[in-house]
Subunit: 449 residues, 2 copies
């Protein structure tokens, strides 16, 4: 829009006539005067219709919340007594000279004001389109944008190549119960659960690669932590000396994300009343058996010998580590090889445990990864041991026939990390258009549509 | 890997002992000496096993193409007569002191050398994993990475917010014949054909937004221009004065992408023997009727009154504009309103033509966009006129009830623009893992799998 000034920049135009455009955020009639708060993507400003501008007063009486206006106005300093310190445009107001109505709005179905807004999640999702205008909701997705951007930035700084992982896959290498089936020209195809095998292929050619792509999980669970469509942030790197190189890269990636969120989203964190977790210089790293022992010693709960962690283990080990070191984060590694996917590298000195790892924070898993098998022979042996159909991983195995360096990688979900960073109660709050077994935009009705 | 030096940096280590790691790219035995070209993600260097290092010579005899090696070596200046000017590391070679074999490789199924590589596309796709190591293939995806990155960069410079558009959709707003159906917990869902309605919703809250997301087309066509899974680059902007603001933003986006590709990928363009198209200061912009008239005048072919362009029109108008102005690009606008989607804004002075536009280049469409209807009443009228089921666009219409500024946007496919930039013959060359009606990684067999 020609000559439009963004609201955040108005303070540079005191005493001047300007054009602003935006939505009516708040509206107050005061006898002979009328006040609006105008909102654009950069902020808010108080606009005032003064009694001497009779046509402006007239028009301002029509105007309702969320109407879209183009206002020509004069940027005035506020009288000393009306200054709101520490608030954007707290020291100025806009004297309205002309109002052009760009778009009208129906009455809002509920209170959208910063303080008045208080919807149940179901109602919020039923009204997603309009609710996206709410600052608390916008704050979540601004933080998520930073999470994804800073992942990408850190990857590029470290010479990772970004590729586009496919969504449609021919076969389900790992299991298959929780996979969505697509009618593909009368044949069967599936939605990808993970770009794992593709990123290993790309790594075998580009050394380091990453992807930001959708993955899909057909888990018939309707918990606060389940979505069917997720943004997966995936990295894979060749020429590692050991799985600890992967751990270090994962740690520094998360550290970079935290720093960027802190730097770019401090206002949003305040809006959401969120505190970022503490990452100390060197995140504690313990084997599964070590954390089981610690839990036993601290809480007397004996999970020693269990094949994996359960949610209570994850909560308790995070508590213990926080108390011992101040770190909100802890790496856990060394899971039973046969309980995990075929491609994870077994510890050569103790092959029944693998070199897979998880990063936990505040009681939940944030990220998974580890070293992978890079030797073709070992990989084909695992395919056989895991009783997999080699034809379903043919292209993957092909890559490993022709020389692949020692390698590993990691992955995490954008929604989950957003949820955990911000302390949200439900992962649906961290997905702009969440899909679950009962909802795709709207609640699914029982006979489908 | 500890102390590893990237091959591109070797020239800074002349006279020093270094560790490099990579693949054997070329291999030559010369009696008592052996030469390898070693390749890592940054480049190539000639490594030489000299007769006085007998254990090195011994080991180098075992080594085959694509084996992965960690080499300790001495960076030596080449004798004057052996210097290859203008080539990375043309003035140095690596005297091998020690070879550690990180991974062996089976014999390659075909010639992978820069000059020898010459596969049919079908064979190339059947061997995608290994072929990704080929420099000509890598060059395509390096350029594609720049295209997507620079789209994102330009959007961010212009205050567009990035959101994650969903892949799974509840209903098919527009038509439905060419949409993939997903079995969604026993109900029906679909793969998105476009984030169009979602980006308009997000724009209604964030003013400016963009997305880089997969879209899916179930067109049963197996041409050189059809894929079933595409990376769509989508932008949407509010507070426009007219559709020409959208045209300008689209033009500057493409200009930025061209500049970035030129700056970052000159080597890759050379490898692919590609010449970027010419974008002049102000890309010519003509209405559909104007280009039909020009085609008639120039070639005597009468397509005046046709409702859309066909491939021959697109070729001919590009030729005419190139001849007249030197521009490889031309915008075409003003299509018959009723032949296009319901949301496109009709020209108020001539409502039977819309304010939709296409950007053509070198005879094909690169990008589509235009102004959209932002008025709720007009939008619902169109929904009715287009005989659509309003319940299928409920969330979309909801956004427009509550005040939406004049707006528009555009979209283009990453694969198509990569193909056109590089002059590739088949769009499958511009998709790392192309999906079409006959292939998902491998050729689909007739009874599905």
């Amino acid at each position: 829009m020609k000559n439009r000034i963004y609201i955040k920049d108005l303070k540079d135009h005191i005493g001047k006539e300007v054009v602003v455009a935006g939505w009516v955020d708040v509206r107050r009639d005061q006898g002979k005067m009328a006040f609006f708060d105008m909102r654009d993507m950069t902020g808010k400003v108080q606009a005032v219709a003064l009694p001497n501008h009779t046509d402006v007063i007239e028009k301002s009486k029509e105007v309702r919340l969320e109407w879209v206006l183009k206002i020509t106005g004069l940027v005035n300093k506020r009288p000393e007594r009306n200054i709101k310190a520490g608030v954007l445009n707290g020291e100025i107001e806009l004297e309205i000279l002309n109002i052009e109505i760009l778009s009208e709005a129906l009455p809002l179905p509920f209170d959208m004001s910063l303080d008045g807004y208080n919807l149940e999640l179901t109602t919020e999702l039923d009204n997603r389109a309009i609710v996206l205008r709410q600052p608390k909701v916008q704050a979540v997705f601004k933080v998520q944008e930073t999470v994804i951007d800073s992942f990408r930035e850190f990857m590029k700084k470290n010479m990772f190549f970004e590729f586009q992982a496919p969504a449609i896959t021919p076969a389900t290498a790992e299991g298959g119960a929780e996979v969505f089936q697509v009618d593909y020209f009368g044949k069967k195809a599936y939605l990808t659960q993970s770009p794992q095998l593709y990123k290993q292929i790309v790594m075998s050619a580009f050394e380091r690669c990453f992807s930001v792509n959708k993955v899909f999980r057909a888990e018939p669970s309707s918990t606060t932590r389940h979505l069917t469509e997720i943004v997966s942030l995936d990295a894979e790197m060749g020429f590692i000396d050991s799985w600890m190189d992967v751990r270090d890269m994962a740690e520094e990636t998360v550290r970079y994300i935290l720093k960027q969120v802190e730097a770019k989203n401090s206002e949003h964190l305040k809006t959401l009343n969120a505190t970022l977790p503490v990452m100390i210089d060197k995140t504690p790293t313990l084997s599964l058996r070590e954390i089981q022992q610690k839990i036993f010693e601290k809480y007397g709960r004996d999970v020693r010998g269990e094949k994996d962690t359960n949610p209570e283990d994850e909560r308790q080990i995070c508590e213990i580590i926080k108390e011992e070191t101040g770190s909100d984060f802890v790496f856990v590694y060394g899971y039973p090889t046969r309980k995990k996917p075929f491609y994870i590298y077994p510890n050569p000195e103790e092959p029944e445990y693998n070199e897979g790892m998880d990063l936990l924070c505040r009681g939940v898993e944030w990220l998974s990864g580890g070293r992978r098998i890079n030797d073709y022979k070992q990989l084909t042996e695992h395919v056989e041991l895991w009783k997999m159909d080699p034809s379903k991983v043919k292209m993957f195995l092909e890559a490993f026939k022709y020389g692949v360096p020692p390698e590993g990688g990691f992955a995490f979900g954008a929604e989950r990390i957003t949820m955990q960073l911000l302390g949200l109660k439900n992962i649906r709050e961290a997905s702009m258009f969440p899909r679950d077994m009962n909802r795709i935009d709207e609640k699914l009705n029982s006979d489908g549509y």
